[in-house]
Symmetry: D2
Subunit: 278 residues, 4 copies
C-alpha cells in the first residue's frame, strides 16, 4: 500500500507557530537524512520565515501535517482531488487523525520517508448550503445561531419526509467524522472503510430521533423551520453559511475520497482504543 | 389539596398579545360567572389596555398563566417565596407545565375557580454565577458562547473533583426541568416530588459522562477551563451571565419550592404520556 | 427492478396455520385471477392439506410469505444463494420485513403478480459458532445462558483486541437486523444498502462500549471468558450453539445477499417511520 | 457518625472459602490487636471450621464482609431491620459497595475497629412477586425466562397506565443498585441519599422508554403480557419467582433503610470515579 520512498513532502503546520515549537528544525534533520525535499507554500513559508521552494506543494509525494485534528482537516480538504496523501504528527489534544505521536516523531518520520506507510481512502460528503457546494471531510453541522435557543428542523432522507423536530441541531458525518461531534451526540462509530454517513441530532427534544446510517445515493435535506431563530451551517468545524428561516442545507455521501497516510500499525481500531478506551 | 374557591386571580400572559388572541375576553366571561376578580400588574394592564386593579397581584389566591412553558417559568419564578400557586392554560407548543389545554379552556377554569385544583410543590435550584445568586425553577445551563466551538469544563460535586471534559455544556435541572433541556440531552426523567437535581452533559466528547441524580446538600461546581472560549450561563432559558476562562457557576437543590396548581387528573404521568408517549 | 410478471410463486406460512386463517383461500383467488401457479413444499402441503406440486419451490419466480418477521427470516434464509426474491404479507406484530399489510392483501398481491415490485439486496453475515458455519440474514447474538447472570466477553475486531467486558451479551447485525434486537440495545439504524454490520453490546457494565459499525473484511470474534456461565449463540433469533467457557463465535459481513421483494413505495424509510415514527 | 470503638464484629464471607484465602487469619490478628471479638453464625463457623461463639451475630456492633458485592448484598439484606451496619472488604471484582480494598486490609480495619467510620442509610424497595413480599437492597428485575425470547410487559406507575412494551425486561433499582444492572441498561446514576427508585427497561424495542426516577408513594406494577413466555423475577440478583402470563410484580420505595458502614473518605463519588472514571 505504500508508494515507495518519499522524495518531496509538503509541510502544513498549525495556525500558531508556537504550537509546534522547534519541531520544524527536527523535521529538517530527519528530511535531510532521508534525502527528502520539504515544500512550503507561500503562507507556510512566510509563517516560518523560510524560502518558498520552486516546486509547489502539489508536486509533493506526501503532505506532512504538524498540528492537531483541525490542521489535519484543513490539509485533507486542501488535497482533495489530488493524489497526495496526508500524514499527521500530533501536536494537538485529541489527534484521532494523526498517525505519529509527538514523542515518536523522528522514528516515525524516518519510516514514512522510507515508504513504510499505508494510504486509507476516507469517504467525504458533498454539501450544499444555499447556492454553494462544498466537500466535507468530517461533517456538516446545522445548529442554532443563538446560544440557548432551540431550533425547529424539518428533515428528509432519500426523498422521504421525516417531519420536524425541536433540537439544537443535526450532524451529518463521514466515518472519519464519526468519532468527533457525531460521537459527542451519541452517534455510532463508523469504522473507516464504510461508504456511508451518519445522521445524528443534537439535543433533540423528542424520543423519535435515533441516529441513522445512510448509504450513498440518499440525500439528507434539512430545513430551518424556526420563524425567529437563524441556523448556522458548519463544515469540518468552520461556519460556512447561515440558514434563515425556511432555508435548507443538504448532504450526501460524496464521490471524492480524502487520502490519509498512516503507519501500518496505527489502524482505526488502535486510534479508537487510544482515544476512548478503558 | 385545593384551597377553597378562588376570589382573586392574577393574570399573566405570553409576551406577544397576539399569541393568546381573544382568550382574555373568554377568561373575563368565566371569571365574571364565577365572581372572580382578575388582577393585572402594570405591565399586563398596559399590554392589554385594561385598568390596573387596586389590589396588587400579590393579593391573588392564584396566578393564572395564558401562554406556554416560557410564560409559566416566568410566573413561577415571580411568585417564588409567596404562597400563590400558578396555573397554566396552554397557548404554547409543548405546555408540559400547563394544566389546562387550550380546547378545555372554559370548563377547566370554571372547575379551578370553584376550588377544584391541587397544588404541587416543585423543587428549585439555588444558582450562583459570578457574584450573583438566583433561583432556578427548571434549570441552569452552562454552554459555549461561540456557535460550533467546544468548551472544556471542569466539574465537582459535593467537594469531589470529577476532572474535566470537552463538551458543548452542562445542564443541571430540577424535576420540573428534567423533561426539558435535560431530556433533550439524554438525561433521566425525574418524576415531580423527588428532591434532587439531575446533572447531564451536553454533547460530551467522552464516554465518562453518564447523567447523575444528586441529592440536597451536594453542590455542583462547574469551571470554564477553555482558554479562548467564554461560556454563557442560562437560568430557565434566559442568559444570566458570562463565564470567562476559569470562572465558575454553582448549583444546589434549593430550599424554596415553586407552587404549581393543577387540575387533579393532570398528573405528572399524564403530562409525560401526552408529551412523549406512543 | 421488477422482473416481469410472476408465473410461479412458492408459498411459505407461519408455523401455526391458525395465524393466517383463511388467507390461503384469499391468496388462491388472487393467484387464479392472475394466472399464477402456487408451489408448496412438502411441509407446507402437509400443513395446509394441499397436494404438493410437481414443480419444486426452487422453480418459483417469487417466494410469498404469509406471516411475520420470524417467517420472513426463515424464508430469506432458505432462499439464500438462489435468485428467488422473497415478499412478505404481514400476519405478525412488527412486520418490518413485510411489504404488504394484511389489510392491503388482494390489491398488493395483484400488483406484485403483475410484476410491479422491486428487489432489494440485503447484506448477510457469515457466522461461525464452534466448528459450524452459518449465514445470518439479521443477526448473531451471543448471550448468557443463565437468566439473570452476567457474562464476561472478550472481543476483537479486525485482529485488534478490545479487551473484555461484563454484559448480558452482544449483537452483531446486518442492516436488515439493525431495526431488531440491535435497535433494542441502542444500536444505530443502518439503512438498507449499507455493506456493513453493527456491533452492539447488551447491557454492558461499562462506559466503554459504544456501538461500532464495521465494514467487510473485519471479523468480529467474541470469546466467552466466564468461568462458570455458558453462553448461547443465536442466529436470526434461533439458538444454534453453546459457548462453554473460553469458546468463541465469529461474524463477518458475508458475500451472499438475501433478496427482498417489495412494492416500490414500501421503502426502508417508510417501514422505519411506520414502526418507530411519531 | 462513627459509633465509638467496635467491640464485637460479625463475620460474613464469600460462599467459596478459597476466594478469601488466608484473609481470615489476617483478620484475626487485627481483631486481637484491637480487642475485638469476632462472631460467626453456624454456617460461617462450619465453613471456616471455627467454634461458633456464644454471642449471636445479632449482638455485633458491626458486620464485616469479606467478599464482593454479592456477599455485601446478602449481608445488607440479612441485617435489614437491625441497627447493625455492614462494612465490606473487597475480595470480588467490582466492589462498589465495599469500603476497604483488599490491599488496604489491615490498616483499614484498624481504623474501623477504632470507631473511625461513617454509616450511610440506603433506600430499599418493597417488592411483591405473586403473594410474597420481600425487601430489595439493590433491585428488582423482571426478565424473560427463555434465553433469546422477548417478552411483552405492561406497566403502570402511581396508578397511571403506560401501555405495553416488547423488551427483555425491566429493572427497578434503589440508589445503591443504580450503578449495577440499571447502569448497564443506560439508567441514571442515583447518588446515595436520594429517596427514589429508577425504572429502566432492558432492551426495549421501542423509542418510548426513557428511564424514569420515581419518588416514594408511587408503585411500579409490571404485568407479563406474553402469552407463551414466562418471566422471572430477581431480587438483588437472585431468582425469587416466576411470572406466568398475566401475572405481575410490584415495587415501591420502602420504609426500611439498609445501613452501610464506610471509611469516611470512601464516598459515593470516590466509588463512582474508581469504578467508571477515566
Amino acid at each position: 500500500m505504500g508508494s515507495g520512498a518519499v522524495k518531496r513532502a509538503a509541510v502544513i503546520t498549525h495556525g500558531r507557530p508556537e504550537t509546534i515549537g522547534p519541531a520544524l528544525d527536527r523535521l529538517r534533520v530527519v528530511a535531510d537524512g532521508a534525502g527528502v525535499e520539504l515544500l512550503f507554500d507561500e503562507a507556510e513559508a512566510t509563517k516560518h520565515r523560510v524560502e518558498p521552494e520552486g516546486k509547489g506543494p502539489e508536486d509533493a509525494d506526501l503532505a506532512l501535517v504538524l498540528g492537531g485534528d483541525g490542521t489535519m482537516l484543513r490539509a485533507l480538504g486542501r488535497y482533495l482531488g489530488s493524489d497526495v496523501p496526508v500524514l499527521g504528527v500530533n501536536f494537538g489534544r485529541v489527534g484521532f487523525l494523526s498517525s505519529i505521536a509527538r514523542s515518536g516523531f523522528e522514528q516515525g518520520l524516518a519510516r514514512v520517508f522510507a515508504g513504510e506507510y499505508h494510504v486509507v481512502e476516507l469517504t467525504t460528503l458533498e454539501v450544499e448550503v444555499g447556492a454553494e457546494k462544498r466537500v466535507a471531510v468530517n461533517d456538516l453541522v446545522v445548529t442554532s445561531s443563538i446560544v440557548g435557543r432551540m431550533i425547529q428542523l424539518e428533515w428528509a432522507i432519500g426523498g422521504e419526509a421525516f417531519g420536524r423536530l425541536g433540537c439544537d441541531g443535526v450532524v451529518c458525518s463521514t466515518p472519519s467524522g464519526s468519532t468527533g461531534y457525531n460521537f459527542s451526540n451519541g452517534g455510532p462509530v463508523l469504522v473507516w472503510g464504510i461508504d456511508a454517513m451518519a445522521v445524528t441530532f443534537v439535543a433533540p427534544h423528542s424520543l423519535n430521533a435515533r441516529p441513522l446510517v445512510v448509504p450513498p445515493g440518499s440525500d439528507l435535506i434539512v430545513w430551518n423551520r424556526t420563524p425567529d431563530v437563524p441556523a448556522t451551517a458548519l463544515v469540518d468545524g468552520h461556519p460556512v453559511g447561515h440558514l434563515p428561516p425556511d432555508d435548507r442545507a443538504c448532504a450526501r455521501v460524496g464521490r471524492q475520497r480524502s487520502l490519509l497516510a498512516t503507519l501500518p500499525e496505527v489502524t482505526f481500531f488502535s486510534r479508537y482504543s487510544r482515544a476512548f478506551g478503558s
